[in-house]
């Protein structure tokens, strides 16, 4: 059975800390791995990764995929209170690219 596992499930840090969120997967017919940020409402897209070893970067956030070891990490440097959210990892699979989601990591950044 396909699955996506995120760790940790929750994390509390202080402003300025650097955090690493993990996502491992066992999915047949892998197409892509996506990261979303969810702040109480709709998930918003952060990154899509399809190739191993190529880092995607946006400001203080970055992500990389390892297709051999079947995992991805999301790094956030110099965290701010506005980074507090649930971060969702999803894997696109099959000919239609349907997403299977992990349970999310709840990040709380304290001032």
């Amino acid at each position: 059975e396909d699955k996506v596992v995120q760790s940790p499930l929750s994390l509390v840090v202080h402003e300025g800390d650097t955090v690493t969120l993990n996502c491992s997967y066992e999915v047949t017919n892998f197409r892509s791995l996506l990261w979303y940020k969810q702040e109480k409402k709709a998930p918003t897209f952060l990154f899509m990764l399809t190739s191993s070893g190529i880092e995607k970067k946006s400001g203080r956030l970055s992500s990389i995929l390892d297709k051999k070891e079947l995992f991805s990490i999301l790094n956030i440097t110099a965290t701010q209170t506005g980074d507090s959210a649930v971060y969702l990892c999803a894997v696109g699979r099959g000919s239609q690219g349907n997403l299977i989601f992990g349970k999310g990591t709840k990040l709380s950044v304290k001032p």
Binding site: R31, S32, L34, K41, A42, P43, T44, F45, M48, T50, L88, A90, G92, Q96, G97, N98, L99, I100, F101, G102, K103, G104
Partner: protein, 115 residues
């Protein structure tokens, strides 16, 4: 350009009642999806559509029906609501074939409570 919109935003139903959730997108996307999100469970796919007039089952389709009569709209129906269907429902859309992007755009969600 409103993106993906959902109506209603909130709804309370009694067990056995029926209702329809409406999702609309103005991005000319081919693919549309309905998910439910429960505490500690992540997002789970209920049904999806790869184009106007098509529908398919996702991971948790029981108790739900869908229709896609127009490309821009995707309706989710509950014929006889049960307390287990208390959840937050998200609609999403994606460009579709002819692209390598798997990014889905989400609506704001509908919070449904069944008593």
């Amino acid at each position: 350009n409103a993106g993906v919109t959902q109506t209603p935003k909130f709804r309370v139903l009694k067990t056995g009642q029926s209702m329809t959730l409406l999702c609309a997108q103005d991005m000319n996307h081919e693919y549309m999806y309905w998910y439910r999100q429960d505490p500690g469970m992540g997002l789970r796919l209920i049904h999806y559509s790869v184009g106007e007039g098509t529908t398919a089952k996702g991971e948790v389709p029981d108790g739900y029906n869908v229709s896609r009569l127009k490309k821009q709209n995707f309706l989710l129906g509950l014929e006889s609501a049960a307390p287990s269907q208390t959840s937050v429902y998200f609609c999403a859309s994606r460009i579709g074939f002819g692209t390598a992007s798997y990014e889905q755009y989400f609506g704001p969600g509908t919070r449904l409570t069944v008593t």
